[in-house]
């Protein structure tokens, strides 16, 4: 076990604060650097064909070109709009439906089986139906993301509510609190860790689905950009798009995690050794 402030590489030795910061940076950079070296090496030594995989240097150069030309910003802006709309729609519907199923046995009987059957269906399998219902413009792309987010958030909301200590609800009933008051004052706050975890997972899934959504008659968006680059064997562009999605995904996850920590600041949770 390594306690906080102790070196991972030199366990048992307490380091000065400045060294600890450097050490943190080094620890975080070790795996990405190792991956970059493995990537470069596998292309250089022909383990993967250069016709399909560009080197990190080529990808960095391409990324730089795409940033300077403004092409990347245009694709990213389009994708972020789709992701945000789909996430908000699916997240809000997931919390609402999940809360209803969580508090009402009738709702569980009415909706539970349908949700259980539909949840495992891969969201991409909905594409032909979404085209028929919502056409080939923005709506079908947003709905595809929303469907994926919806099921994850619903499942986590139901689970969160159903794991609330029954005694808290009984105390509220003794104080003559209404069902709405119990939901808003006790169940939802107590289920918040699970709901926020659902939203965080939903956001991650949203990025995955964005790529699938942008296969529907798109001509802009970072997912479409990757698809188009793969279609026309442009590995520089394809990997630059993948790096871009990775960075953006990590950034949105960081924002979500910060929001989660802020909302759950009352929690005295285990933060790792």
């Amino acid at each position: 076990m390594i306690s906080a402030g102790r070196s991972f590489f030199l366990p048992g030795r307490r380091l000065p604060a400045g060294f600890r910061r450097v050490q943190t940076v080094v620890e975080r950079a070790v795996l990405p650097i190792a991956l970059l070296v493995a990537w470069q090496g596998s292309v250089e030594f022909g383990l993967v064909p250069h016709t399909l995989i560009a080197t990190p240097g080529e990808v960095a150069s391409d990324l730089f070109r795409l940033i300077l030309s403004g092409a990347l910003a245009e694709h990213v802006a389009v994708s972020l709009r789709r992701l945000l709309a789909g996430f908000c729609l699916g997240g809000a519907a997931g919390i609402a439906v999940g809360s209803w199923i969580g508090v009402s046995r009738l709702a569980q009987r009415l909706m539970g089986p349908t949700v259980s059957i539909l949840a495992p269906v891969p969201p991409t399998a909905w594409i032909p139906l979404l085209i028929i219902l919502f056409g080939i413009r923005e709506a079908s792309k947003i709905w595809l993301i929303a469907i994926g987010v919806f099921f994850v958030v619903t499942a986590n909301t139901v689970s969160g509510i159903r794991h609330v200590d029954r005694r808290l609800v009984e105390v509220a009933r003794i104080y003559d609190k209404s069902k709405l008051e119990i939901l808003s004052g006790i169940l939802l706050p107590a289920a918040m860790p699970s709901i926020l975890t659902g939203l965080r997972l939903g956001l991650g899934l949203g990025w995955i689905l964005l790529v699938a959504a942008e296969l529907i008659a798109a001509n802009r968006g970072i997912g479409w950009f990757i698809y188009d680059a793969r279609n026309f064997s442009r590995p520089n562009d394809m990997l630059a798009g993948m790096v871009c999605i990775g960075v953006l995904g990590a950034a949105t996850d960081f924002l979500m995690l910060s929001f989660q920590r802020h909302v759950l600041r009352w929690q005295d949770a285990f933060a790792g050794h």
Binding site: I131, I136, L215, A217, N231, S233
Partner: protein, 313 residues
């Protein structure tokens, strides 16, 4: 005790010997990867040869056997070629141009069939001719002969390509969009075209001149190492083309069965397929126009000289 150990020892030795010799036995039979993209009636010679076991017969003298794969996406074909997992492919010409532009070692070795580019419009549509497509939405898979054909035919009819909204859709999504009226037209190939016509949902526009060249391509490394095997495979394709042209009724039945299609659909599409074709200068020029189209639109970064770099007869 010793006898029992001896028996176990013999069994273990036999097992080990057998296990070690397995890869050696397996290595004696070479597997030739043969692939196609999606479903298309222009692969009829290939489908007939596959069904009749002609590839197996041709490869048997080389201690080789074919392994057939139907790819559903175009990039997967080029990825399989680049990683030596696919040796022969039947497809239209743009994917192989894209592969060559990306530096993948592949050559066009034969022409299977030539057919016109079709543009479908819904039954009762006001679009009657290609110049009516101005301002309309057309579903088409980007980078295909169909996309090239729409732009080439539109240009010939005096319509600027910029005035047509092209939406990039693979055939299954294009079908959903077309049948639900979300697009005004759909540029696609048989049997998708004839399925809509037979169902009474669509008809094709007349007057287009653009064509699709359905080619057979062989991975360069495979051909260099196995020139006789490559020649035998080309021989199968040539034989199958002649047979298909001479026995249309039987070929239609085989293609319908192999591709899982309604024979009515195959029969309707049959007359537009020309199997008595070869890689003539005219065909090579047509493929070159498509290579230039892909390069000028920035879809590929290298211009392919078709005659010099791509064709190997």
């Amino acid at each position: 005790m010793f006898r029992r150990l001896g028996i176990f020892g013999c069994a273990a030795t036999l097992l080990l010997t057998g296990g070690l010799s397995l890869p050696a036995i397996a290595a004696e039979v070479t597997t030739v990867g043969i692939g196609t993209f999606s479903i298309a009636i222009d692969y009829s010679p290939y489908l007939v040869a596959k069904q009749k076991g002609w590839f197996d017969q041709a490869l048997a003298p080389f201690h080789a056997k074919p392994s057939f794969t139907q790819f559903e996406t175009l990039p997967a074909i080029n990825e399989a070629l680049a990683t030596d997992r696919l040796d022969v492919v039947f497809e239209a010409e743009p994917p192989v141009i894209i592969a060559k532009a990306a530096g993948i070692d592949v050559h066009v070795t034969d022409l299977g069939c030539t057919l016109p580019v079709d543009i479908l419009v819904p039954t009762g549509s006001k679009i009657r001719a290609i110049n009516d497509l101005k301002g309309k939405t057309v579903a088409v898979l980007a980078g295909t002969s169909s996309q090239y054909g729409v732009l080439a035919d539109a240009s010939a009819a005096g319509v600027d390509g910029k005035d047509i909204e092209m939406v990039d859709m693979a055939p299954p999504e294009g079908k959903a969009a077309f049948e639900s009226g979300k697009v005004d037209a759909w540029a696609v190939w048989p049997p998708w075209v004839e399925q809509e016509i037979v169902a009474g949902r669509g008809s094709t526009l007349e007057g287009g001149q653009a064509t699709i060249q359905s080619i057979m391509a062989i991975r360069g490394g495979f051909e260099d190492r196995n020139p006789k095997m490559a020649k035998a495979i080309i021989g199968v394709e040539e034989h199958a083309k002649a047979w298909v042209a001479a026995h249309p009724d039987e070929a239609i039945a085989i293609v319908a069965q192999e591709a899982g299609l309604d024979p009515k659909v195959v029969r309707l599409a049959w007359p537009k397929h020309h199997f008595s074709v070869s890689l003539t200068p005219d065909v090579i020029s047509d493929i070159q126009r498509k290579a230039d189209f892909l390069f000028k639109r920035g879809l590929v970064r290298t211009r392919v000289d078709v005659d010099k770099d791509l064709i190997r007869q």
